[in-house]
């Protein structure tokens, strides 16, 4: 295996590192810990967090890329395939490789449309042909399919329950290390009603997610559980691959705009004067350009740039990745202004505070004041805007892909799925599964993000905390 690191992969891991170091830092800061503790007490937020965690897991697995090894022909130097796979691709190889010819409905054993089949005696027949993989293990799908699906689901549920038990015990063990309670004691305290942290909800959500994942994955060995698309690719696979795209857009956009927004906002509010004027001019100008047009222009430009300045050795996947990054950048440019304006207002208030005045009087350097005194006190605003922006960005991706200024058409994303599935609505019988799969996956992510964001906002927003 020869690892490949896409730019967005690198940024994702950078982001993860930042999150971890922030958590490390926040552990020591009571004013940051307290609101998070409030978040942790909300059952809704913790349930959502579990779901988000699983999405994140899929996203991270899909962010580890490599060239697979090729078999050695005659003792030459080790050769690698030009293909690029991710950890997720390898985990679900069966989904990736079991392609049908064209559409098939979820759990179908037969193709979606009739085809001319040549019978052994040379005559032809119009029939729904059997699928290559979906339900291929059944000898008579009309008879045994339903029972088979139920049986297979039961097996899936059992496997899921076993995995769940394992995962939950691991969680119990890790928390046991911190307390003096015995294993059963921890379990008991977790099941108690008046618990600080809603352990019951957490375990239950983990259970539901794990069991449904194992059932789906187990069934997907035998069926196309979400059907297949026009060229016979498994829709479940596409939905899983789209997770990374959604997450990258939702998080990296914020990551790239954050330094600018924070620095500019604080500088404008703190220094006032001409710096303030310049920064205000900058963000008013940028925010007065209609966002969609700015994005369209930037995406077109990046295409041109890539065509002219990149040699052909850069593969399609990398190109798509660069386009994704550019999309994040430009979305960042259009969305940083709001945060910047808020931070400027906050900084203006803070600079009048006694401790800032005192620091100034002691001759502490301006930069240090911003870093030590202003920044920690606006962190809650930053936090709220990060979580609030996330779901909006995931939704924006779908819309942008509709007008072809979103991610690269070759990249898996929910926007691209909706966009191509939209055209299939006119078919009879309707091809609804691509749309439904994209809907379900997107809806769960955005709903979880929204609920989590609500809890975070409630916890951090001093206005509501006071009320």
């Amino acid at each position: 295996m020869m690892p490949v690191i896409f730019i967005t992969d690198g940024l994702i891991f950078l982001l993860l590192m930042m999150v971890f170091s922030f958590v490390w830092y926040a552990r020591g800061q009571e004013h940051l810990r307290a609101p998070w503790r409030t978040v942790a007490r909300s059952p809704m937020a913790m349930g959502s967090a579990v779901i988000l965690f699983f999405y994140l897991l899929i996203g991270i697995m899909d962010s580890i890329h490599f060239h697979p090894q090729l078999e050695n022909v005659n003792n030459e130097e080790q050769q690698y395939s030009t293909k690029i796979l991710s950890l997720l691709d390898v985990t679900v190889t069966h989904l990736r490789e079991q392609d049908e010819k064209t559409f098939s409905a979820p759990f179908a054993a037969h193709a979606y449309s009739k085809e001319t089949i040549e019978v052994s005696d040379g005559s032809t027949l119009r029939e729904y042909p059997r699928l290559n993989y979906g339900g291929a293990h059944l000898s008579d799908p009309d008879q045994g399919k339903t029972i088979d699906i139920i049986l297979k689901s039961v097996v899936g549920v059992i496997i899921g329950l076993i995995v769940w038990c394992f995962v939950s015990s691991v969680i119990v063990f890790t928390s046991k290390c911190r307390t003096s309670l015995s294993f059963m004691g921890v379990v008991h305290s977790m099941l108690k009603k008046n618990n600080d942290i809603p352990w019951k909800v957490i375990h239950l959500t983990i259970g539901v997610v794990i069991v449904s994942l194992t059932v789906l994955l187990y069934l997907s060995n035998y069926y196309h559980i979400f059907g297949t698309d026009k060229v016979g690719q498994d829709v479940f696979y596409q939905s899983l691959k789209s997770v990374r795209t959604g997450l990258v857009i939702g998080t990296l956009t914020t990551l790239v705009m954050l330094p600018f927004a924070i620095l500019m906002g604080l500088m404008a509010g703190y220094f006032r004067g001409w710096i303030d004027d310049v920064i205000q001019y900058l963000y008013t100008t940028l925010s007065s350009i209609p966002g969609v047009l700015l994005i369209a222009a930037a995406i077109l430009m990046s295409q041109v740039y890539m065509d002219n300045h990149m040699d052909d050795s850069i593969g399609l996947a990398q190109r798509a990745d660069i386009r994704l990054l550019i999309l994040c950048l430009i979305l960042g440019v259009t969305s940083w202004t709001g945060l910047c304006r808020m931070l400027r207002g906050e900084a203006m208030k803070l600079r009048e505070m006694d401790y800032v005045q005192a620091a100034q009087a002691f001759g502490v350097s301006q930069f240090r004041i911003i870093l030590r005194h202003l920044l920690p006190n606006v962190m809650h605003i930053v936090m709220i805007s990060i979580v609030l922006d996330f779901s909006g960005l995931v939704l924006a991706e779908a819309v942008l892909s509709y007008i072809n200024i979103g991610v690269d058409p070759s990249m898996h994303s929910w926007g691209n799925m909706i966009n191509s599935a939209r055209l299939e609505m006119a078919r009879e019988p309707i091809v609804w599964w691509s749309l439904a799969a994209a809907f379900v996956f997107m809806f769960m992510l955005v709903l979880a993000a929204n609920l989590f964001a609500d809890a975070v906002r409630d916890a951090f927003d001093p206005r509501i905390r006071g009320a």
Binding site: L70, V73, E76, E77, Q79, S81, T82, K83, D99, K101, T102, Y112, S113, K114, E115, T116, G122, T124, L125, R126, D229, K230, V231, Q233, L300, Q303, V304, D307, D312, G315, L316, N404, D408, P409, S410, N416, N419, S420, R422, L423, E424, M425, A426, R427, E428
Partner: protein, 720 residues
């Protein structure tokens, strides 16, 4: 207040339309219900409506009904046959040698120095009513000397209240041919025609000179009547001559295209006045013709409306056709005066789903079938023939199919180092890929079987195409059991070994072979296509990388010759093999010259045979040469071929005289509509369903009742 007002209006309209017998979802005004109007769609704004500029089928939909070139294709007869339109009879070329002596048609081409086409037009043909032709009491044109002030309040052509007409003259045809040389117009066929029409090049030079000198302001008008032109001369009011430099039998086909329509000089004067083009009033936007229809509304954001030309001379429906036509009811209107419809409304429809649904609801009279709705409309029977589904048959819809005279191909750039060139290695590689890319599968997935895999550059229906065993491409197909069968992938794999790429890896370095497809396509539809292509190349172990760019970049790459593999299509200008073979003619290369030979293919023998074949009449001798040429390109395989699409179109029962004709552009005049039956069917198909709406309202109302109760209880407890 505004809200209440709006709701009120809304309620009343719903009430009004509910009371009338027109369906609620009728997109047209109620009063149009009984009218003899033809409804169709267009998906893209026509870029040009100037007959000297227009060169695209979506523009011909309109232009073909308005402008009348001297010739036209017979509506019913096959193979396609040219007949006179405004001409009184088919022109017969007269060949002359250097000394002006008339010589035989079969004389060697180097002897022929002039070919003369003399065309006589019908007398008394009138132009549509148009302000450019409006005259005052003293016969002077009233809108030819407009001042800036006169144009105040003028936004569209209809703002000129007066209109006029005049008789079509031979000079109008000559005027239009001269317009091809006009420096301001840049007709797309000017270059091609300069090769043939005597003196056109010189005229262009002369006009360009004049134009440069006279160019003080944008509106400067050059009076083309003043210029002597050897290539086209007026003999008398109804006769003109076109003189060619060399023998060019295909020229007659050009005479049926709108490039050779008449153009009254008055229109040119009228549109060239200062301030006109600032108001979008140009010849490119408001055509003026003698045809059966005139463009009465040009609003490409919404709809284009063609209305019957009141001055139309009254052509009659053809009285004879193919054998079956009478049985199919296509001769019911024989001898009757055309056009049959009073108006044709073309609505803008960019999305395929609404278009299709509106067709099913009866609001469009005809529709193509997009791939996505194919299964709903058409099923293939056991013999693999297309037939309508029960649902369609119940609605009385009929299906027409025709193999298009076009070809979609995937080509290799012959200038490329890996896939191009004449080496044995590259040729084997190309042949292997041609076998591996399974166009039968492509057609069945992406075109629902609506296509024929191509065996060579010439599509069926064009002279030179061979059917059956003699016509298969032996490098890709075998003839098995009376059918062409694609060679197995093993054959392709062994070709790959011979080419030095066993399993798609370079025999020496062991590196995987990576090829690139350049494509201007981006968007949802193309993704599936790319995935499929990648799968095909993967069969040979080749990694195919798609370089999707926008259309401009793609064109640029093709011109620079830096593309590797590309996809392209060609739609016949006229039914002659020359129009397809020239796509592979060496001197016609795309590279630097910007010809139509996008593969930059060059083969000495092929080019020499092309020169021979080009001017020959159809016959055995020509067939022999074509066969040889086809064999050469099949071996060299500069294209991995592709397919010839088959057009499927659906028509409602009230739509009469439907017969596919891929060459004619002026088909609207033959169409007949039965508005009474249409109205009845629309009503039957579109019953409004109110149930779910009422249900939702009830649920909404019910949901609030328990809340009110809860609230009451809370209030009571608070009061206590």
């Amino acid at each position: 207040m505004q809200i209440i007002h709006r709701i009120f209006i809304l309620a009343t309209t719903i009430l009004i339309s509910a009371c009338s017998d027109s369906p609620l979802n009728n997109p047209y005004p109620v009063e149009e219900d009984n009218k003899n109007i033809y409804y169709d769609t267009f998906s893209e704004r026509p870029k040009h409506l100037d007959p000297a500029l227009s060169y695209s089928s979506n523009e011909y939909v309109f232009l073909g009904q308005i402008y009348e070139p001297p010739l036209q294709y017979h509506f019913l007869k096959r193979p396609y046959q040219l007949i006179p339109l405004t001409a009184t009879e088919m022109p017969v070329p007269v060949y002359q040698d250097n000394n002006g002596n008339v010589i035989d048609e079969e004389s060697p081409s180097e002897k022929i120095s002039k070919v003369i086409y003399r065309i006589t037009i019908k007398p008394g043909v009138l132009y549509q009513p148009h302000p450019a032709l409006a005259t005052g009491k003293t016969d002077e044109y009233i809108y030819h000397t407009l001042e800036k002030n006169d144009l105040k309040g003028v936004h569209v052509l209809a703002d000129f209240k007066e209109t006029g007409t005049r008789v079509l003259t031979a000079a109008d045809y000559v005027y239009q041919i001269k317009r091809m040389a006009h420096p301001k117009i840049h007709s797309p066929i000017a270059g091609l025609m300069s090769q043939y029409i005597l003196g056109l090049t010189e005229l262009s030079k002369q006009l360009a000179e004049e134009y440069k000198n006279a160019q003080t302001d944008e509106a400067s008008y050059i009076d083309l009547r003043k210029y002597d032109f050897e290539g086209a001369r007026t003999i008398d009011d109804t006769t003109f001559e076109i003189v060619l430099k060399e023998k060019y039998p295909q020229f007659l086909y050009w005479l049926s295209m709108s490039f050779f329509s008449p153009m009254p000089w008055e229109a040119d004067v009228f549109y060239s006045q200062a301030g006109m083009s600032d108001r979008n009033i140009t010849l490119d936007w408001y055509p003026i013709g003698t045809g059966p229809f005139m463009l009465s509304e040009n609003n490409p954001n919404l709809r284009m409306v063609l209305e019957k030309n009141p001055n139309f001379r009254g052509e009659t429906f053809p009285i004879e056709g193919e054998k079956n036509d009478a049985a199919l009811g296509l001769l019911e209107d024989a001898g009757k005066a055309m056009p049959f419809v009073d108006k044709a409304i073309f609505s803008l429809e960019k999305e395929s789903i609404p278009t299709w649904n509106k067709f099913l609801q009866g609001y469009y009279d005809t529709s193509g079938i997009v791939s996505d709705s194919f299964d709903q409309a058409v099923q293939l029977n056991a013999q693999g023939e297309a037939d309508l589904t029960e649902e369609m048959k119940e609605k009385g819809i009929t299906l027409l199919t025709a193999v298009m005279t076009s070809t979609f191909y995937t080509g290799f750039n012959m200038r490329d180092e890996i896939v191009g060139g004449e080496s044995e290695r590259a040729m084997k590689l190309r042949q292997a890929i041609a076998i591996a890319v399974d166009f039968e599968e492509f057609i069945s997935i992406f075109a629902n079987g609506r296509g024929l895999p191509s065996q060579g550059p010439v599509p069926p229906g064009i002279f030179g195409h061979q059917a059956g065993e003699a016509g298969i491409n032996p490098y890709v197909y075998d003839w098995v059991g009376g059918k062409a069968k694609r060679k197995s992938i093993d054959v392709a794999k062994s070709l790959m070994i011979e080419a030095g790429y066993p399993d798609g890896r370079h025999v020496e370095t062991g590196k995987g072979l990576v090829l690139y497809l350049d494509s201007p396509a981006a968007g949802p539809g193309s993704k599936a296509n790319f995935d499929w292509l990648r799968k095909q190349f993967n069969k040979l172990g080749i990694t195919l990388v798609i370089r999707a760019t926008d259309y401009n970049r793609f064109q640029g790459k093709m011109l620079k010759g830096t593309a590797q593999i590309y996809q392209w299509g060609w739609n016949a200008d006229y039914p002659d093999p020359e129009n397809f073979m020239f796509l592979l003619y060496g001197p016609n290369a795309k590279f630097e010259i910007n010809g139509e030979n996008a593969s930059n293919y060059k083969n000495k023998e092929f080019d020499q045979l092309f020169g021979q074949m080009k001017n020959m009449g159809n016959g055995d001798a020509r067939q022999l040469i074509i066969d040889r040429m086809v064999e050469i390109v099949r071996r060299d395989s500069p294209w991995l071929w592709g397919y010839h699409p088959v057009a499927f179109s659906l028509h409602h029962s009230w739509y009469k005289n439907a017969k596919p004709n891929l060459m004619a552009n002026n088909k609207l005049k033959y169409k007949r509509i039965d508005p009474v039956s249409r109205k009845a069917q629309r009503k039957k198909w579109n019953p409004p369903v109110w149930g779910p709406v009422i249900l939702i309202l009830i649920v909404l109302c019910l949901s609030i009742i328990p809340a009110i109760r809860y609230h009451k209880r809370r209030e009571r407890s608070a009061a206590l």
